[in-house]
């Protein structure tokens, strides 16, 4: 089996030659190659080359074109601060001053901000890897993009003070993400993972998620499935236990769960959904190989009868992680 076949079989709870292992290696790929992070996040070719080199080193089952969480908001007018060897941060939100809620325009993915660089990276990865390895694009969730357009506090207060206007921006965000996600699938992504950090119960309560975000995520995933995504992958970090019950209705096929979510709870809540997780991200920086191997083996044991499991970290493996720790996780599935 190649990596893509292995992942697809696992997502569908079918027999595979081994458990897939997907290290959420984003900026760490740049660190490995000695490329400054700020160059990695601005150049699709560098990003693709770093991802390919990291794949060659670690031999895991997926590559990512996750750049940072500001691609879409930058394309819509937010001003970013690019700093040496760091992820970019938002200096000014696109909707921090005035905006006409009825005249918002979806950006052209071929021209706007760094969107073309993401598409370029996907084309390089697809022409190199073809259908051997899972190629993962990335879009934000509608709520997260909304918070990246307004600023998180302004967005959440708007949800309470002016829910109709808040929903208009959410719908706009959803349409932006559908457009960008479909462009990524056309460029070579097997699926765009949906990062929705602001939808975490650490930020909004589960009934807020159910009312505002779940219907938009469902629309997003429907569009991606129709557009050719091989599966729908939702990534909400933090204590997501209270919103897992909504995932099936939304159409999630792969559910990321973070280190603070009990795997037993995730399994019992989503018996027919593939789960990926959940080693603590900072453990790849602060712990050692035997810790990672031990935790990996515990997870593999827990999921051995159930299947539908991808060994991974709970969230991004920090750029500064120790390579030997990532290798330890990968070795766990191979021995």
């Amino acid at each position: 089996m190649n990596s893509l076949e292995r992942v697809v079989a696992t997502v569908n709870f079918k027999k595979s030659d081994r458990v897939p292992v997907i290290a959420q290696v984003f900026g760490h790929a740049a660190v490995l190659k000695g490329v400054p992070l700020d160059e990695y996040i601005q150049d699709g070719e560098i990003l693709a080359r770093c991802q390919l080199d990291a794949l060659e080193k670690y031999k895991y089952d997926a590559v990512f074109t996750v750049v940072d969480v500001n691609i879409e908001t930058e394309a819509l007018g937010s001003i970013l601060d690019y700093r040496k060897n760091q992820y970019a941060v938002i200096k000014k939100y696109a909707f921090s001053d005035e905006y006409n809620i009825d005249k918002l325009t979806i950006p052209d993915c071929k021209k706007a901000g760094r969107m073309p660089e993401v598409l370029k990276a996907l084309k390089i990865l697809k022409s190199t890897l073809k259908n051997d390895v899972l190629i993962v694009g990335c879009v934000l969730g509608p709520l997260t993009l909304t918070t990246q357009l307004l600023g998180i506090e302004k967005a959440l207060y708007l949800a309470i003070d002016e829910p109709e206007n808040f929903e208009k921006i959410l719908d706009f965000s959803c349409n932006v993400l559908i457009d960008f996600g479909l462009a990524q699938i056309s460029a070579g992504a097997h699926l765009p993972i949906v990062f929705d950090s602001s939808a975490s119960p650490a930020v909004v309560p589960h009934n807020f998620f159910r009312e505002f975000e779940a219907p938009r995520l469902k629309k997003l995933f429907n569009a991606f499935k129709t557009g050719g995504a091989i599966a729908n992958w939702l990534h909400i970090a933090g204590p997501s236990g209270s919103i897992l019950p909504y995932y099936s209705e939304i159409g999630v096929n792969i559910a990321n769960f973070d280190y603070c979510v009990n795997p037993e709870v995730a399994m019992s809540t989503l018996p027919e959904t593939c789960l990926d997780g959940n080693i603590k991200p900072l453990a790849f920086v602060e712990n050692n190989e035997s810790d990672i191997l031990s935790e990996s083996n515990q997870l593999l044991d827990m999921f051995s009868k159930r299947g539908g499991f991808i060994l991974s970290s709970g969230c991004e493996i920090p750029p500064e992680s120790k390579p030997e720790n990532i290798t330890a996780m990968i070795n766990a599935v191979k021995h």
Binding site: Q86, V89, I160, F208, P239, P281, E286, P318, P319
Partner: protein
């Protein structure tokens, strides 16, 4: 009658109703209730009730934000143009360090500390270690609160203790919180406490004040 009005005031705060909270605070003040009493018997009580509801399992950040916003509006009425209460429980300097993605966690801590009667010095987001140390030298806090959402700020957090000590500020406690910092240990971060939530952090500060 006043008790009923204070209870109503607390309810407005817990509902996050800014206008009614401020109106209610004005009425109480006009009836002779001191500013200090309004904080102690109104804002602080509201925060205690909210804190009791917000366990790790039942944490509702949005609810805290709404009450926090009402609290800050009441404080603006009581102490306009940046003036501070004559009596506070002490000064806490807070910051989000340079490179972090946003400072929501810090702002939540600010609201809770303010409602509990602390003087909060907010160094904002994108704060450098030097700015933090300068604020500590100038404002003489008994604690510093740092929130961190991304692991890339961890090397900065580790430097704070040494930077404070080099200026003779060894007695200042360092409180850390936020998604990235919560994954670590206080010994690793070189801080005094890692809080699960803003309320947990304030509980720690209340404890060390009593000692």
């Amino acid at each position: 009658m006043t008790h009923k009005k204070i209870d109503a005031f607390i309810n407005y705060l817990l509902e996050g109703n800014c206008n009614e909270s401020v109106t209610s605070a004005k009425e109480l003040h006009n009836e002779g209730i001191s500013k200090e009493q309004i904080i102690l018997e109104g804002l602080e009580v509201a925060m205690i009730q909210l804190g009791a509801k917000c366990t790790v399992e039942q944490f509702n950040l949005l609810e805290i934000m709404l009450t926090g916003r009402a609290v800050m509006e009441v404080m603006k009425y009581l102490y306009p143009e940046g003036s501070i209460p004559e009596k506070t429980k002490g000064t806490v300097v807070i910051a989000a360090l340079e490179g972090d993605v946003h400072d929501l966690g810090k702002n939540i801590l600010k609201m809770v500390l303010t409602a509990k009667g602390y003087n909060v010095v907010d160094c904002g987001k994108d704060c450098t270690i030097q700015q933090l140390v300068d604020a500590a030298k100038e404002k003489s806090p008994f604690a510093i609160g740092i929130s961190g959402l991304v692991t890339s700020i961890i090397p900065l957090v580790k430097q704070i203790r040494g930077a404070l000590n080099s200026q003779g500020l060894n007695n200042i406690k360092i409180l850390a919180g936020g998604a990235a910092l919560k994954q670590s240990l206080k010994e690793q971060l070189n801080v005094d406490y890692i809080a699960d939530s803003a309320f947990d952090g304030v509980h720690y500060l209340e404890e060390i004040r009593r000692k």
